[in-house]
Amino acid sequence: MRLWQLTVLFNWPLRLINKDEMPSTLTEADISNGVKAIAEQIGQCQPDGDFVLVGVRSRGDEVAARILELLSQKGIEVPMGLLDISLYRDDLAHLNSNPKLQGSELPFPVDKAHIILVDDVLFTGRTVRAAIDAIMDYGRPAKIELAVLIDRGHRELPFAPSYVGIHLETQRLDYVDVKLKDTDGVDLVEVTKKNEV
């Protein structure tokens, strides 16, 4: 799904930050607006609340919790799960030490569920691949959708998000550092240009 299609579909003033005006940081307000945008989109598309949110650890879980809160204000009450995709990463063999497991908690049957995966940043798509594989090992969902706070482009796998908070234009080698309050104590996104590293 193309960006313009999304905009048309949801009739929502999507935040698009283009190259010329691209800031090197996103503030608490930017992040908050991004989360609101996702909640609005989900609320519009799934008003009956017949779905579950699954936050990808770490930070995807915090984004999911914020969306859950906003949906609840709209009267949409859904269950939420947490997914640790560490065991499904495709780069474990290349790491000096394996990431610490935080565990998954999916307090609902995955079979036949409509799952909206939530993550903080969508980049290569490899995390999404891992997350989908992980979910499939819990059962056979009816449908999986993807919601991301930030889509920074440069996909390496054929995934397109269903709900996006912020589109961020970046270079392939830029590093996007997301900090969220519950995990990191502050809401802040910083983009480090490759030549600054």
């Binding site: 770490s58 640790d84 560490s86 065991l87 499904y88 780069d91 474990l92 063999a93 290349h94 790491l95 000096n96 030490s97 394996n98 990431p99 610490k100 497991l101 935080q102 565990g103 998954s104 903080d120 940043v121 980049f123 290569t124 490899r126 995390t127 594989d133 992980a134 499939m136 090992d137 819990y138 059962g139 920074r152 590093y175 996007v176 550092d177 997301v178």
Partner: protein, 317 residues
């Protein structure tokens, strides 16, 4: 925080032990899924090298490795030239040539896993060497103990049986001590080592040991077959003095003391049948936790067999 090999408990730092025990829990959680397998070690090869027969530990490791999607090969020691006098060093050379990623080794001789670890790039896991160490047993025991006592420091563990020949007693005692658990040993004087760590209490009398009020009792398997010179007159006498008989079990059940055992049990020797039905008997839980603990170990170790190893990143953003 990672290591190439897991050879003993002694050399693990407390943080490493806590880390491994914490990591066992998410692995155990996987066992409730319909698909119990995860792809973490896909494409990795695990070789089991058991010089001593052991169905339980070998199976536990195999299940753990397979649930991590590793390919498991059993190096049949009895069928190989090892039995025909090939030295351990020559076997090691063979293993190195096989380019396996993990080697899980059990040997009747203390120090063999270390010798293999020094000579190979593969991660070596000690699955029991002589009377030296059995680190994964200690980890599964620690994990089980923590499930019952989330704050283990200050709790009391009494280990009963043949401490002298037991690598389980050594490793589990060391691990429990590192978690702040108070440890005591009970057994015939001939089977309780004089030279162990001084902070471990020693009892040779059952009643006195029970007055110490242990929170959990760890029974060891009594093995007559291991003894060239007799360490006690008869199994009957052992059971009378140190076994959990029906009468003793009643008191244990009244006090709510937990029971652990590394398996396999000798019913009627170190414990009576009733113990196996006891609600606070953790033996089955230990078996299940063994798989989770061993998965945590396999996931934690990093062999030197990889080529393009780069520093860890939390997630590719």
């Amino acid at each position: 925080m990672t290591r190439k090999d897991l050879l003993d408990i002694e050399s693990l730092r407390r943080e490493e032990i806590e880390h491994l025990l914490d990591q066992a829990a998410p692995f155990k959680e996987l066992f409730t899924r319909s698909v119990k397998k995860v792809p973490a070690l896909k494409g990795k090869s695990v070789l089991t090298l058991f010089y001593e027969p052991s169905t339980r530990t070998l199976s536990s490791f195999e299940v753990a490795a397979k649930r991590l999607s590793a390919d498991v090969t059993t190096f049949d020691v009895a069928q190989s030239s090892v039995a025909k006098g090939e030295t351990v060093r020559d076997t090691i050379a063979t293993l190195q040539a096989m380019r396996t990623d993990y080697i899980i080794v059990r040997n009747q001789m203390a120090g063999i896993p270390l010798a293999i670890a020094r000579a190979t790039k593969a991660s070596v896991i000690n699955a029991g060497d002589g009377a030296h160490s059995h680190p994964t047993q200690a980890l599964l025991d620690g994990f089980t103990f923590k499930e019952v006592f989330p704050e283990p420091a200050g709790k009391k563990l009494l280990i009963i049986g043949d401490i002298l020949h037991s690598r389980v007693a050594r490793s589990t005692s060391t691990l429990m001590r590192k978690l702040g658990v108070e440890v005591a040993w009970l057994g015939p004087g001939s089977l309780v080592p004089k030279h162990g760590p001084s902070e471990i209490k020693r009892f040779t009398n059952y009643e006195e040991a029970m007055k110490w009020s242990p929170d959990a009792i760890y029974l060891l398997r009594i093995q007559m077959e291991r003894q060239s010179a007799p360490f006690f007159p008869s199994l009957r006498e052992y059971t009378k003095l140190y076994g959990i008989t029906q009468e003793r079990f009643k008191r244990i059940a009244d006090q709510g003391t937990y029971i652990m055992h590394p398996g396999p049990v000798n019913r009627g020797v170190e414990l009576c049948d009733e113990v196996m039905e006891y609600q606070r008997c953790l033996i089955d839980q230990q078996v299940e936790n063994g798989i989770a603990a061993r998965m945590a170990v396999l996931y934690w170790l990093k062999p030197n067999t990889g080529e393009n190893v780069r520093p860890i990143e939390e997630e590719p953003n």
